[in-house]
Each structure stands twice: as structure tokens, then as C-alpha cells.
Amino acid sequence: MEHRVNGLYCYSGVLEQARANFMASHPKMIFFKEFFSRTFSENVWKKLSAEKGRRIYQAEKFSYEALDVPIELEDFAKSEFFIDFLQIILGKKIKEVSLEARRFSHKDYVLINGENFAGKRVDFFFLFCDNGWEEKFGGYTAYSKKDGEPIIFPVVNNSLAIISVEKDMEEFVKYIKHFAGGKKLVKIGGFVK
């Protein structure tokens, strides 16, 4: 049993159902709430919220703080458990995963800017945030096509999102409005090779 993860996600039956849900959706995607165990999640969040970030800003593209990925999360993402987990959900072999940590607070965002667009791929991200995050704050990750409504992943603490990105889809992080006050969120994402 993988102690870092919510026990529910260690059961093969649950993973098989998750895989079925992923495959049946258009585009293929899935969202796991309360992904990590409470202890693991709280320890990671404590590190992420306290870490001194590096301001990354290009007005016409993005504004956020870059963080180092905590070693616990780096180890988890490369672990046999998580690779197997992804392989079951995606139904294919995976060679490696990459990770990057970004912290967002009031006035931060990522715009659709063409550089995010890297063709068909599978994205995933873990999300951690302060308690009491409301939809009106913004900060959500969305995938947008030229036509149609964007696909929005809500800001939920201790969640994992996986999406099979289609070739004309572009990603953004919605500007965080002043309603958020001093609250922050951290997105630790990457893609699967």
C-alpha cells in the first residue's frame, strides 16, 4: 500500500473505473480530489507555501513564482507507484515524467501565448492551495480550443488532474483577482513522455 496516497486510489478496481472514465471523456481527462494522504499533503503544502520563489514575469505571457519541486514530490512522481498509476489510467507505457512548480497569488496568471502549445501530449498537475479558495478568485487552469467553451479544472487543494491535450488546445491559468487576498495556490505540473 502506497502510504503517500489516499488509500482509495491504491485499489485496482478504483483505478480501472478511473481509466474507463478517462477514456470515455472528450477530450480524455480525469480529476482526482484528495489525491494524497492528509499527512503527505499537509507536509508538502507547508514547504511550498514557505519557500522563497523566483518571480517570473513577462507581461504579455505570464506572471508567477517559480519554486523548486519538493524532494518528496519529485520522488513520488518518479516512483513505481505513480508510473504504474499513470500507465493504468492512460493505457500505455510511460518512459518518464517531468515536473515544474509554480506558485500563483493575486495578479498572477498564464496567458495563451503559443509557447504553451506543444501539440498532442498528456499533461498532469497536482494542485495545492490555501483553505477557502473560491471560484470567483480565479487561478484555475483551463484548456481552450479556438471554438467552444474552455475545459476548466477547479482550484481544489490536494487534487490531481490528467488531460490528453489535443493538437489545437492551449492552456492558461486564469488571472487571480483581489478577492483572493493573500491566498495562494501552487501548481506542480508536467507532461508525460
Partner: protein, 207 residues
């Protein structure tokens, strides 16, 4: 009465002032722009505000913005707004714009819509450079905005063809007229509205 005199405060039609404005426009940093206070006749500005507030504003949002807009005012049925549209479309107005900017625009070739930024609304950095837009303009019809309220018009400096940082912030003052040349340098944004006040304006582009 001349269509310009019908709408614009007569002080802004003075030849000496127009020449001064042209100079200010050409020398403005970080890119060519003007902000003219008390631009319209006060009673006209009041009528415009009342008329605009009767219009249907549709909320729109994407990665770049959250705000509400009316449809293009060319189709508007309100008599005040129709009259204002005719004023903006007139040969006289395009000639006036040429005098203060030096930019040729085609009379009648314009976009006009009302915009409304409520609390939390914003427009992130971009340059407006699409199609044959030549001049971007805004008539501010909002009341009592101060620096702490947000909603300021931000002008960005440019470095290597990219926006560098916001170097000027214009508070949206009642009855002021903001305009700028659309170019590769015209990076701008609307700061988030931090207040409960409504940032109301009519604006668009001259082509």
C-alpha cells in the same frame, strides 16, 4: 451647428490647443498617446452616461480579460447613442483626429462599444494590433475613480518588441478622452478594478 461643436467642449477646438496636443501626442512616452480631460460638453457626457447605462452589457471572459461589453453601437436604437455614433463616424471627427495625431483614418470605419469593468474585472497586457486598426480611443464615463480603486489604464515600455513594464498609469477620470496610435509598441492593459465602483466607457478603434 457644426457636429464637433455639438459634442466637444469648445476649449478643445481651439487651434492653439490642437497644435499643442499634436506636439504632446508625438512626444508622448512610452508610445504616442493623449489623455484629454473635460473633453466633451458636460451635458453631453451626462446624457451619454445615462444612455449607456440603459444598454445591455454582456459579461465576457477568457484568459486575457474579464469585463462586460455592449454590442457595437452602430446598431443601437437609443437616440443619444445613435447621435454619438454619427459624430464619431463623421468626416469632421476624422479630420479632428488627424489634426491632433497626424494619422489618417477613414471616416465611418470604426468600432464603437460600451465597456464596463466591475469589481475584479481587468484586461491584461496586449498591443491591439489586429487588421487595420490605426487609433484606439476611449471616452471615460465613470465617476470618482481614485488610484486606490484600480481600473487605471496602464502603458508599458517596450524592449526588443516585447512589453517590459508598466511605466504610466492613467486614472479613468470622468469625461476624459484617451487615445493612442496602435502599433507594435502600444502595449497596454486595464488594471483590475479593486473597488465596487463601475468603470464605464465608450471606446473602440478608428481604421
Amino acid at each position: 451647428m457644426d457636429i464637433l461643436q455639438n459634442w466637444i467642449d469648445e476649449r478643445n477646438l481651439n487651434s492653439d490647443l490642437i497644435e499643442e496636443l499634436r506636439g504632446k501626442f508625438e512626444m508622448a512616452e512610452p508610445f504616442e498617446h493623449l489623455h484629454i480631460e473635460n473633453f466633451l460638453k458636460e451635458e453631453k457626457a451626462n446624457l451619454l452616461r445615462e444612455a449607456l447605462l440603459e444598454e445591455n452589457f454582456v459579461y465576457k471572459e477568457n484568459d486575457l480579460f474579464s469585463l462586460s461589453q455592449t454590442a457595437d453601437l452602430s446598431e443601437c436604437k437609443n437616440e443619444v447613442l445613435k447621435s454619438f455614433y454619427l459624430f464619431l463616424s463623421s468626416k469632421e471627427f476624422s479630420e479632428f483626429m488627424k489634426r491632433i495625431t497626424g494619422i489618417d483614418v477613414v471616416s465611418g470605419a470604426l468600432d464603437v462599444a460600451g465597456s464596463l469593468y466591475r469589481s475584479g474585472d481587468y484586461l491584461l497586457c496586449h498591443d491591439d494590433l489586429i487588421d487595420d486598426r490605426r487609433i484606439a480611443y476611449l471616452f471615460y464615463l465613470c465617476v470618482n475613480f481614485e488610484e486606490k480603486d484600480g481600473g487605471r489604464f496602464l502603458l508599458f515600455s517596450e524592449k526588443g518588441g516585447k512589453p517590459w513594464k508598466a511605466v504610466k498609469a492613467q486614472i479613468p477620470k470622468w469625461n476624459s478622452f484617451m487615445l493612442f496610435r496602435v502599433s507594435r509598441k502600444s502595449f497596454h492593459a486595464v488594471e483590475e478594478n479593486f473597488s465596487d465602483k463601475e468603470r464605464l466607457a465608450i471606446g473602440g478603434w478608428l481604421h
